[in-house]
Amino acid sequence: MSGGVDSSTVAAMLRAEGRNVIGLTMQLWNQRRLAGHEGMPESVQGRCCSIDDVYDARRVAETLGIPYYVVNHEERFERDVVRPFVEEYLAGRTPIPCSLCNNHLKFDQLLIVAQQIGADKIATGHYAQVAFDEQTQRWLLKRPADKSKDQTYFLFGLTQEQLSRTLFPLGGMTKPEVRELARKHNLVIAEKPDSQEICFVPGGDYKRFLEAYLSEQGDKPPETAGEMVTTGGKVIGEHAGVHNFTVGQRKGLGVATGSPLYVIQIKNDTRQVVVGNDEELYSRTLRARRVNLISTAELREPKRITVKIRHKHQPAPAMMESAGPDEVRVTFDEPQRAITPGQAAVFYDGDVVVGGGWIENSTQ
């Protein structure tokens, strides 16, 4: 229970079904921890893990008459989510902490705590659906009824065991329906605005967060400054560090030319940031690593799918084929814009999530 509308409504729905519900909030990050560091706000409000949110969750639990506890997983969160987030940026990639959090915290640590305290399943406020396929004897992850809220992109790492113990009660509902239900249950958070950003990065300014975090750790940002080069290999300027860039970025390149320039590629080994025109951003194939398959146990032959390469991406038709253990190659029907290493590629068969992996690279 984050203290937001979705997870609060889930608790209310399960309670109304007569289930034995225990409310849990994961304390993952101390929002005041970096307060006062250069460029960071003094205090943060209305965000995950803030005192206000815990207070809201507690009020909801009290309204529903369910036991409620806060469990501290700050250490694991820092180790498995925050540090990799920082390291990925410093390596010139664009990470997705929410997927890491789902894989390592919400559907791992929280599931263990749930089992330890005697709960058979965990329920979250994610917009997604879980179903059991009798034919294949596999648990399926499916897109929700409200496609605009679809969160399956962040859930591709769930294993069969995790899915078998998970409930997504909001999977069949739209956001307005959820709010209406929250009002009906007199939940104090019914009108609370949705959270949008990465929960531990105030204001969404990840560069400032990186600098504040590294300075708190006593580390200077590692030397990742280098050259700005064109796709043809011509040096056209310098940059202050690869972590300031993401593929597809147009603003803040620090070079002026006649036509709009975009980041095409970040070369971690040479610290070069490759820039080019819009057309050069398009790639037809990508390679994904650390692949997790959900609807099928293995990929014996090439499979026709649609692929999301970022959360807000319209799934694009493609073929996927195995490219080694835990690796796949995806070939799109049409070249896709700004395929970004560090992001996830999630594979769909209609509404069913086939699986997903981490984008390693793309080729034209």
């Binding site: 005192i51 507690r58 469990v71 263990i112 330890q116």
Partner: protein
């Protein structure tokens, strides 16, 4: 569901006699104790009777008792009432946050603070206190009984050191008062803190004993209440409750009720230590009679507390942070426990209301719950040969 409360170091239930004593002061006896008329006289008398009861429990004069809003205010009054920029303060690493964070504030505002470490049993060495003295040392503040382990500090020896060197000595006796004889003359302290709700009185009231001759600056400025040491209209029902609780605690100590409690605690402790890979924190040191703190290797104390609460047993781990999530105990870390062992530790603390059946209820739940948690733990080795580990190092 049957519920058993074994977390009496957090707070204790108000005894029925205490509640009865307080009740008229929420109703018919409503006067302001500073008023000169009949109504004021009634409540003034009640406040002064309570002051005498508290003084009797602590072996001091009634005029030396200052009522406060609780233990934290009393600790803060002792510390901020005495220490000025340029002064040096000696405290320990295992104090309650009411003292630790007050000292942290001093350190950030021109004072020097020395934190005396503890040994593996959780004990401060008085020789360390003596060595830490400086010409500008103004105050030594070291607790009597630790809230997490129940370990009793050698306060009488520290009192001697303070007296020899003319340094003020404050002791936070919140977890000791009512559990063991707590006499300011025997301790040799200048200031001593107690809290009503730790000895079956109400929450929101405490007292600071300020020995005669101790020049204390008030923190709250206003009327001349509490001999100008603590302004603000007295919390009469609370003070009356504290007085009654102190009176009952004194009578219970005279009856040696603490020995009965120690027997119940020892039984609980012995049985829990039969579980494999457990150990006692603070073993080998003198302790108050109601507390035991035990580690259960391979489990998260947090999960055990929740699992037990869902079965009706209330116990606790170390301190909770503002969200209610559990943080590793600074006390156990200061005693040299590994962080994972500190996080696997649970405090059990008995109160006057607990019966032998309560202890048996706990003993019926804890072993099976620990076993279940270990079965599901990713770090607990499966099917290891049973190995009984010794007490904490």
């Amino acid at each position: 569901m049957r519920r058993v409360y074994l977390d009496n170091n957090a707070t204790t239930p108000v005894l029925p006699e205490v509640l009865e004593a307080m009740r008229p002061y929420f109703g018919e006896h409503f006067g302001n104790a500073s008023s000169i008329h009949h109504h004021g006289q009634e409540t003034r008398a009640a406040v002064e009777r309570a002051r005498e009861s508290v003084a009797a429990l602590l072996g001091c004069r009634a005029s030396e008792i200052v009522f406060t809003s609780g233990g934290t205010e009393a600790d803060n009054l002792a510390i901020f009432g005495l220490v000025r920029p340029g002064d040096h303060v000696i405290t320990s690493t295992i104090e309650h946050h009411a003292v630790l964070n007050a000292c942290k504030h001093l350190a950030a505002n021109g004072c020097e603070v020395t934190y005396i470490p503890v040994d593996g049993r959780g004990l401060v060495d008085p020789a360390d206190v003596k060595r830490a003295l400086r010409p500008n040392t103004k105050l030594i503040t070291i607790m009597l009984a630790n809230n997490e382990t129940g370990v009793l500090q050698p306060v009488a020896e520290i009192g001697k050191i303070a007296a020899e060197t003319d340094v003020y000595f404050h002791t936070d006796a919140v977890q000791a008062a009512g559990k063991i004889a707590t006499d300011v003359n025997q301790i040799g302290c200048d200031l001593l803190t107690i809290s009503a709700h730790k000895l079956h009185g109400p929450q929101g009231v405490g007292a600071l004993c300020v020995r005669k001759g101790t020049r204390l600056e008030p923190m709250l400025h206003g009327g001349s209440h509490e001999r100008s040491r603590r302004a603000g209209t007295e919390n009469v029902p609370g003070i009356v409750g504290l007085g009654k609780a102190a009176e009952l605690a004194r009578a219970a100590l005279e009856r040696a009720d603490d020995l009965r409690m120690a027997a119940a605690r020892d039984h609980l402790e012995r049985e829990l230590l039969e579980i494999e890979a457990t150990g006692l924190n603070g073993g080998g040191a003198p302790r108050v009679s109601n507390t035991t703190n035990i580690y259960f290797d391979g489990i998260e104390g947090e999960a055990l507390v929740i699992a037990l609460d869902l079965k009706g047993l209330a116990v606790s781990t170390g301190a909770a942070c503002s969200s209610g999530a559990i943080e590793p105990s600074h006390v156990l870390i200061a005693m040299g426990l590994r962080p994972d062992r500190a996080k696997s530790s649970i405090r059990f603390s008995l109160g006057k209301q607990n019966t032998p059946e309560d202890v048996d209820f706990g003993l019926g739940l804890i072993p099976e719950t620990v076993a279940r948690l270990r079965d599901l733990s990713p770090v607990w080795p499966k099917a290891v040969v049973s190995q009984k580990l010794g007490a904490s190092s």
